[in-house]
């Protein structure tokens, strides 16, 4: 399966991927936010979405995730999806393990414990999110995302507002988890180094005449060995 050399308003039919996005337009109160935006993501591919602040990256992500349904166009989504939000978005009244098992109803205690171990949270199973540090809460959000074996992982600036050391640790952890589970991944970031390190392709949202569109060229990166290893 190839990756389109150009991405933008004018293109042929969408490729068959884990997700196929074909947005015609998105408006907020009469103001055009997104113009025609179409792309697909192949299994195992990691796509970074970059662009200036306020251009509509998070809006696009919310449409892709199915949170925002007020738009013109079509999205073909896979059955198993997961999302890592800017904030951990955990259930503070449930224990760490119950946060996983409440979201993924069929998840056994052993599988939940395994998912927590993968993110370095062994021994924290019965603690409430409020008892965990900021970094541990982010790890728990990652564990929740990967516990459901998602076909598509969506991340909205997952390392924002972390100190440099924690951000680096989380970046490495995310990199390993993606390499191990190999979901198709779409993530928004402002940091070029994050995009280049995690992504196999970078899409850029740029201003267009009727809302933001994807830039006419995209950066492609060599598929790193650890991404192809599994």
């Amino acid at each position: 399966m190839g990756i389109p050399a150009t991405l933008g308003a004018a293109r042929g039919p969408l490729e068959v991927g884990v997700i196929a996005v074909d947005i015609r337009s998105k408006t907020f109160g009469g103001n055009a936010v997104l113009g025609p935006v179409s792309f697909s993501i192949a299994p195992g591919e990691t796509v970074a979405l970059v662009g200036p602040s306020g251009i509509g990256k998070s809006t696009l992500l919310r449409i892709v995730a199915g949170v925002d349904t007020q738009f013109r166009g079509t999205i073909a989504r896979p059955g198993a999806m997961a999302m890592v939000f800017q904030d951990p978005t955990l259930l503070p009244w449930r224990s760490a393990m119950d946060n996983l098992r409440t979201v993924h109803r069929g998840l056994t205690r052993q599988a939940a414990a395994r998912a927590m171990a993968e993110t370095g949270l062994t021994g924290k199973e019965e603690m409430f999110p409020g008892q965990l540090s900021q970094g541990q809460r982010r790890r728990l959000a990652l564990a929740r995302a990967f516990a459901g074996q998602p076909e598509l992982l969506i991340m909205d600036e997952p390392f924002v507002s972390l100190d440099a050391e924690t951000a680096e640790t989380m970046l490495a952890l995310t990199e390993n988890l993606i390499a191990h589970h190999r979901p198709a991944t779409l993530f928004v970031t402002h940091a070029q180094n994050e995009a280049e390190r995690l992504a196999t392709r970078i899409l850029t949202l740029v201003p267009g005449p009727e809302g933001a569109v994807l830039g006419t060229s995209c950066q492609r990166f060599r598929v790193r060995e650890k991404h192809t290893a599994g």
Binding site: G66, L91, W93, H104, G130
Partner: protein, 249 residues
């Protein structure tokens, strides 16, 4: 400094002190008897079975009205808090019912339905539903949109979402509504019984009011206050501690 545990006991002892002082100043046990003067009458009413019978009748009405008002108020408040369109339609109704005097609703229910249990419980329920709805609506408006988004992305069923995402966020509002609900409902039940029932604490208070028997009025009133305090300590406070335990962990 007394430990927190004994503060409520000391507080009630203080209230008894005020009562005794007022009784001494009044000097007429027919107007305001001493607390211990009520004991023989209380024992007599208990042993005759009259007090338990009327207490039970009132308690059943309070429970019915409480369950109905909380259920309806929770559903309506949640729906109105989540749907601005529905809120625009129902808000004027809510304002009307909030400002409708309890007595008017009680009288109308008795006139339209008759002097029976259905009318009594419906009148109390209708009086309390707007209050519960208002509190729950505020809670529903304050629901975290990020948790809502998370529930959507992970495709949680409506039941799981309601139980694990929505209701825990609404818990402080539900507890506040329940606590004020119990306090208000039993007072309205007494008025309902006073006006149109032949059993219950309100009926007995009506009876002894006509006989100008202040001690008996106080015996029946305090008996039910004691039951309500017990409900607060045995059910409401432990429930509140349970749902909020994650905050103090």
């Amino acid at each position: 400094m007394p430990t927190c545990r004994f503060i409520p006991v000391l507080s009630i002892t203080g209230l008894l002190g005020v009562w005794i002082t007022a009784a001494l100043l009044t000097g007429d046990p027919r107007i305001l008897p001493m607390p211990f003067d009520l004991v023989p009458g209380f024992v007599r009413e208990i042993s005759s079975g009259e007090l338990p019978r009327h207490l039970g009748a009132t308690l059943v009405r309070v429970l019915w009205a409480f369950v109905l008002a909380m259920g309806l108020g929770l559903a309506l408040g949640l729906a109105m808090g989540r749907s601005p369109a529905l809120n625009r339609w129902l808000d004027p109704w809510l304002v009307i019912f909030l400002n409708l005097p309890a007595l008017v609703l009680i009288v109308l229910c008795y006139l339209w339905i008759g002097l029976n249990e259905t009318a009594a419980i419906l009148a109390v329920t209708l009086n309390k539903v707007p209050g519960v709805t208002t509190v729950i609506r505020e809670g529903a408006r304050a629901l975290d949109p990020d948790l809502d988004a998370m529930a959507k992305v992970y495709r949680m069923s409506w039941y799981v979402r309601l139980r694990h995402v929505v209701l825990p966020q609404l818990a402080p509002f539900v507890i506040a509504a329940a606590r004020s609900g119990v306090a208000v409902i039993w007072k309205i039940v007494l008025v309902v019984e006073f006006l149109g029932r032949s059993s219950g604490i309100g009926f007995q208070i009506h009876l002894y009011f006509q006989l100008f028997d202040v001690p008996m009025v106080m015996i029946y009133a305090f008996s039910f206050i004691a039951v309500m305090l017990l409900a607060e300590w045995v059910f409401l406070q432990p429930w509140e501690r349970r749902v909020a335990r994650w905050r103090w962990a």
